[in-house]
Symmetry: C2
Subunit: 193 residues, 2 copies
């Protein structure tokens, strides 16, 4: 079916961009990985690589937002444990994938921040949605909304940076250590039980 090919192209793009970046991934490689003929790419994405990139970013972003919300769904009880769990998800993903499966956005975000305004904007929107999901979880644990928004930004930054370090060093140490320090920091901000 037509929609199926489109979806496969998006999935393949998201995965390849995450591993190799935007500039480092060719459209040929994407069509091959997605099992789609060359021509169908421009049929579904007449805007070419940039349109495909923007949609792939939004696609990955929405999927991870659901993962965020799922992890924090039971967060009213123990939000700190949820944060630990989230870092652990990334530890497992990196190890299982041979250090390929990091953040689906960060690599592209850094590449395009100064080279493509539409793509930069797409990345910014994804980060904002993740922060918002995170902040809802923290607010649900009793932290005042304004402070929850700040701590969500902080926690997301620490998480993203730890992925950069772990993926580069081929060692989950950075993620594990950062998870513990962030968890401790957040616990100190919770209202007294």
């Amino acid at each position: 079916m037509a929609n199926d090919t489109r979806q496969r192209l998006l999935e393949a793009s998201a995965q390849l961009f995450r591993e190799q970046g935007y500039a480092g991934t060719g459209l040929k490689q994407i069509t091959t990985a997605g099992g789609a003929p060359w021509g169908s790419l421009y049929h579904f994405f007449p805007g070419g690589k940039e349109q495909l990139g923007a949609e792939a970013i939004a696609h990955s972003g929405a999927r991870y937002e659901r993962l965020f919300e799922l992890t924090f769904a039971r967060g009213g009880e123990d939000i700190v444990q949820c944060v630990r769990d989230f870092f652990q998800l990334s530890v497992d993903a990196l190890e299982k994938s041979g250090w390929a499966d990091g953040c689906p956005i960060a690599t592209v975000a850094m590449e395009v921040a100064s080279t493509s305004e539409p793509l930069r904007h797409a990345c910014a929107e994804v980060f904002a949605s993740w922060e918002a999901a995170f902040a809802r979880g923290l607010a649900g644990a009793g932290i005042p909304p304004e402070r929850a928004a700040e701590l969500a930004t902080y926690a997301l930054a620490a998480f993203e940076g730890a992925i950069v370090l772990s993926r580069t060093t081929h060692d989950t140490r950075a993620l594990r250590i950062t998870a513990e320090v962030v968890a401790t920091t957040l616990r100190a901000e919770l209202p007294a039980a």
Copy 2:
């Protein structure tokens, strides 16, 4: 002079890689920016783009390590303020450069983590040197060496992630908030004065 051209090629590479990434930067663009003729690139870097990339990474890395050490040189007194200062350096650099001047390593590190083992290794060594410099500063402030190493990893992760967010959103908010939370976290680890 010969060494001059080589140096200019390294500087141009470092700057372009930081802004556009490794795959997104062409060798032609580097020679143009460095004011060097095309042929001299392969004269000075017979290993081609990968050799140039590895040397540019080490070059940037060493320069920033000196910046780390300079910022922490007076850190025995007030290490927390030094951390704040370091985040502020990045805030200023991003604003002054129109969001181009972020981390000189992170963009390339993410791109090459799964595509070039030599380049990944070069990035990992840079991160390790920064962590070590950071840890020396924290240990100098009285934190036990083992804990100082952990906190250095944590602080570097938070710093790197905050740059990713700020550069993507065109807003220094992430850097400013992260700086404050990290500063508070580190202060709590200092030995009682």
